[in-house]
């Protein structure tokens, strides 16, 4: 007689996600990355999720409510009210994933931190001194106390390995993805297209590292000067831009449209109707705007820097970040409708390789790893 073995019931692995970035009112950058991490994990049913901030547990319903309204205002309010009453501590034995700066080191059995970029170390001149101090003062401790360090791109991973070789054995990639609210497409269909005429979108002017100077310089290049395309620049106008603008002839100045800060829907609309996107940045940890444009079938004219080749792949054309001449040549190539169509197909396909499952798989693989 065969003895029946008791059925082993496998419990789901636990994961606590630090949702501190979601307490911001407006979500851009790291809060958006955190939202995508949470959303991608909520789509799975093979992990028992928990949430925290400052190692205190946060009610999953409050997190889900914040996701629905796409803002952390209510979540922060909930946190302030509840923390006054005393919140429960996280499970010390379970793993914690930090999507941004890891403020506690070595308090929990398994900790994973995320590195978005190390620009504060390699280009500190583009940051406020206080920001450099905040990011770097305990950075080495964050890395050494993490079981795993997630990097948002292989460019970030390579930079980390170069400057902190001791992390080589503990890094993993975590790729985010582009997503748009479902209603955007329907709403947009009922609206007339923007009236700029043919235009390209340039994202981000706030920092010198965004390299808008190159575009302003290139306006004098024949290939661009003779084109009818306008440049819609999404983001705040930096102080240095005004100096360059003052030096531009009026006909060049008129071709630049600065939108200032725009909502996600406006960004969606601008991308949906543009010819292509220009991303001249000198340094990006990942470069999510490129992926967002590609997800809408828009190829990207990008500087050959940092993470762009892996994020844009063959869905774009690259140029030397400091060469106005090379930029103009690439612009000319991209102005050809047939070439754009060819790139557009590749852009959509490449963008689709970055998806929620890929993101959440990175975390699940880490959870499954034998310690």
């Amino acid at each position: 007689m065969v003895k029946k073995l008791p059925r082993v019931r496998r419990s789901k692995p636990k994961l606590t996600i630090d949702v501190g970035p979601l307490l911001e009112t407006q979500w851009t950058g790291i809060p958006v990355f955190t939202r995508r991490v949470v959303q991608s994990m909520l789509q799975r049913d093979d992990v028992a999720l928990d949430f925290c901030w400052n190692l205190a547990r946060i009610d999953s319903k409050a997190v889900e409510a914040a996701l629905r309204v796409n803002s952390g205002a209510l979540l922060r309010d909930w946190y302030e009210r509840q923390s006054g009453n005393g919140l429960e501590l996280v499970d010390k034995s379970g793993p914690i994933f930090y999507p941004s700066v890891k403020r506690f080191h070595g308090l929990v059995a398994r900790e994973a931190s995320t590195v978005h970029d190390i620009s504060t170390l390699v280009m500190p001149e583009n940051h406020e001194a206080a920001n450099v101090d905040y990011h770097l003062e305990h950075f080495a401790d964050q890395l050494s106390s993490s079981e795993t360090v997630f990097c948002v791109s292989s460019a970030t991973e390579a930079a980390l390995h170069a400057n902190f070789p001791s992390t080589k054995s503990k890094t993993r990639l975590i790729y985010q993805y582009a997503d748009w609210p479902e209603e955007f497409e329907e709403t947009e269909k009922n609206l007339a297209p923007p009236v700029f005429g043919p235009y390209v979108v340039v994202i981000g002017t706030i920092e010198p590292r965004k390299n808008l100077e190159l575009i302003l310089k290139a306006l004098a290049e024949p290939a661009i000067r003779d084109s009818a395309v306008k440049f819609v620049i999404v983001g705040k106008k930096g102080w240095k831009v005004d100096i360059f603008l003052a030096e531009l002839p009026p006909e060049s100045r008129e071709r630049l449209l600065f939108t200032g800060f725009v909502t996600e829907f406006t960004k969606y609309r601008l991308l949906r109707h543009c010819e292509f996107m220009i991303f001249p940045s000198l340094y990006e940890g990942f470069g999510i705007p490129a992926l967002e444009a590609m997800s809408l079938g828009k190829p990207v004219l990008a500087a050959m820097t940092t993470s762009f080749p892996e994020v844009i792949g063959d869905g774009g054309i690259y140029f030397d970040a400091y060469s106005a001449t090379e930029f103009a040549l690439a612009f000319q190539e991209m102005s050809n409708a047939d070439r754009r169509l060819e790139l557009s197909i590749k852009a959509v396909a490449h963008a689709a390789t970055f998806n929620a499952k890929r993101l959440s798989d990175s975390l699940v693989c880490w959870l499954a790893e034998q310690r």
């Binding site: 170390l121 500190p124 080495a140 791109s153 460019a155 500087a303 993470s307 400091y322 090379e326």
Partner: protein
């Protein structure tokens, strides 16, 4: 055997006032732009030392853009087989090019902000030094504080006076302890730059002290200078000539330099007579005393030289040191534990006649008048 180019990189701040045609460009374009005096001198020295060994001298703007295989491959395709890279740094960031033989040349060691920045970077990310194989003209000042990675030191000395054409000023010292700005303005009003001072300095013995911004943070050095000032104030036999510290280009006016100098004197706690001290002259530049034309070259030196350990000795031709009757080098007290490293480097750069004043506990007591 085919020669390859030598690659250099410079801080992003130095590129701001240069016309850069592309990411990789000839160094002569950098020299044609507005760059800081120490960087210009450092580039000149590198050119002098390596001009014949390499096919060309090229600069890479922002090497931090290229770390991941795609971008790095793109860069290397433009480097014509280059194998060597020198990172000329002002201390804000250290940048290596993966796969190349990287050396670091810290050219801004006289500036407090730069020295602090470099020290902070290395403290926060000491592993970053593993990307480098050697240093150029390091006087053992900062890298030796982080002994985890041994870097091969290399010394390149200036063969000519790099900045002899600058117009110099002399000022009689005046110190109002209540307002450095007032003192500076009064000295400026009595400043003299109309006649070459060479003859005057040739006639009498004098002691030449060269200050740096870093040395004026060192209480012991400041006390030594203050006492020399008081001795010279009432002595017709030997005049004291003090070169003002050179500051970062954005604040390198004579007023700012005098204020920094007077701040150091005030910090010493030694009282200075409140009168115009004709026996003590501040000079803006060594060209004022035209050392290369003095009798010094004929072995008739008239000056005793006092320098701080933080002086970038590589910026000066060997005659400055070899022609002096004596050279006293004052060590920063924080370098005490590295005395042999630092004196070893300096001895190679200055010559073996140098007398080093190390700040031992005993010598401190002696200088405080308590020993």
């Amino acid at each position: 055997m085919k020669k390859s180019p030598l690659i250099v990189s410079v801080p992003a701040g130095e590129l701001a006032h240069c016309e850069i045609p592309a990411t990789v460009f000839p160094v002569k374009q950098l020299l044609a732009g507005s760059i800081s005096a120490p960087l210009r001198c450092a580039l000149g020295i590198v050119q002098q030392a390596f001009g014949k060994k390499y096919s060309a001298l090229w600069c890479v703007a922002r090497p931090e853009m290229f770390v991941e295989p795609s971008t790095l491959g793109w860069l290397k395709a433009r480097l014509d087989g280059a194998l060597d890279h020198i990172c000329l740094t002002d201390g804000h960031a250290l940048k290596a090019i993966p796969g190349l033989h990287n050396r670091v040349f810290f050219y801004a060691g006289e500036w407090v902000g730069s020295a602090n920045n470099l020290r902070n970077s290395l403290r926060r990310a000491p592993e970053m030094l593993s990307q480098f194989h050697g240093t150029i003209n390091d006087q053992g000042a900062i890298f030796a504080e982080f002994p985890g990675h041994t870097l091969e030191p290399e010394i390149l000395l200036a063969k000519v006076y790099a900045e002899k054409s600058r117009l110099g000023w002399t000022f009689p010292l005046y110190s109002n302890p209540h307002s450095h700005e007032d003192s500076a303005n009064r000295m400026l009003a009595r400043g003299d730059h109309s006649a070459p001072r060479d003859l005057e300095f040739r006639e009498a013995d004098f002691e030449l002290v060269i200050c740096t911004e870093v040395s004026l943070q060192d209480l012991n050095f400041c006390r030594v200078i203050a006492r020399k000032i008081n001795d010279a104030a009432f002595s017709a036999a030997r005049r004291l000539v003090i070169q003002l510290p050179e500051l970062e280009p954005c604040r390198n006016g004579n007023i700012e330099r005098m204020v920094v100098f007077l701040g150091g004197l005030a910090r010493s706690g030694v009282a200075i007579p409140r009168a115009y001290l004709s026996g003590v002259q501040l000079i803006s530049d060594l060209s004022v005393i035209a050392l290369e034309n003095t009798e010094a070259k004929k072995g008739k030196a008239r000056y005793h030289l006092t320098i701080p350990q933080s002086l970038s000795t590589w910026r000066h031709a060997g005659e400055l040191f070899s022609s002096a009757k004596s050279v006293n080098c004052y060590m920063d007290e924080t370098k005490h534990k590295m005395a042999s490293t630092v004196t070893g480097s300096l001895r190679k750069m200055i010559g073996c006649l140098t007398k080093f004043e190390g700040w031992t506990a005993d010598s401190r007591r002696r200088n405080d008048g308590n020993g």
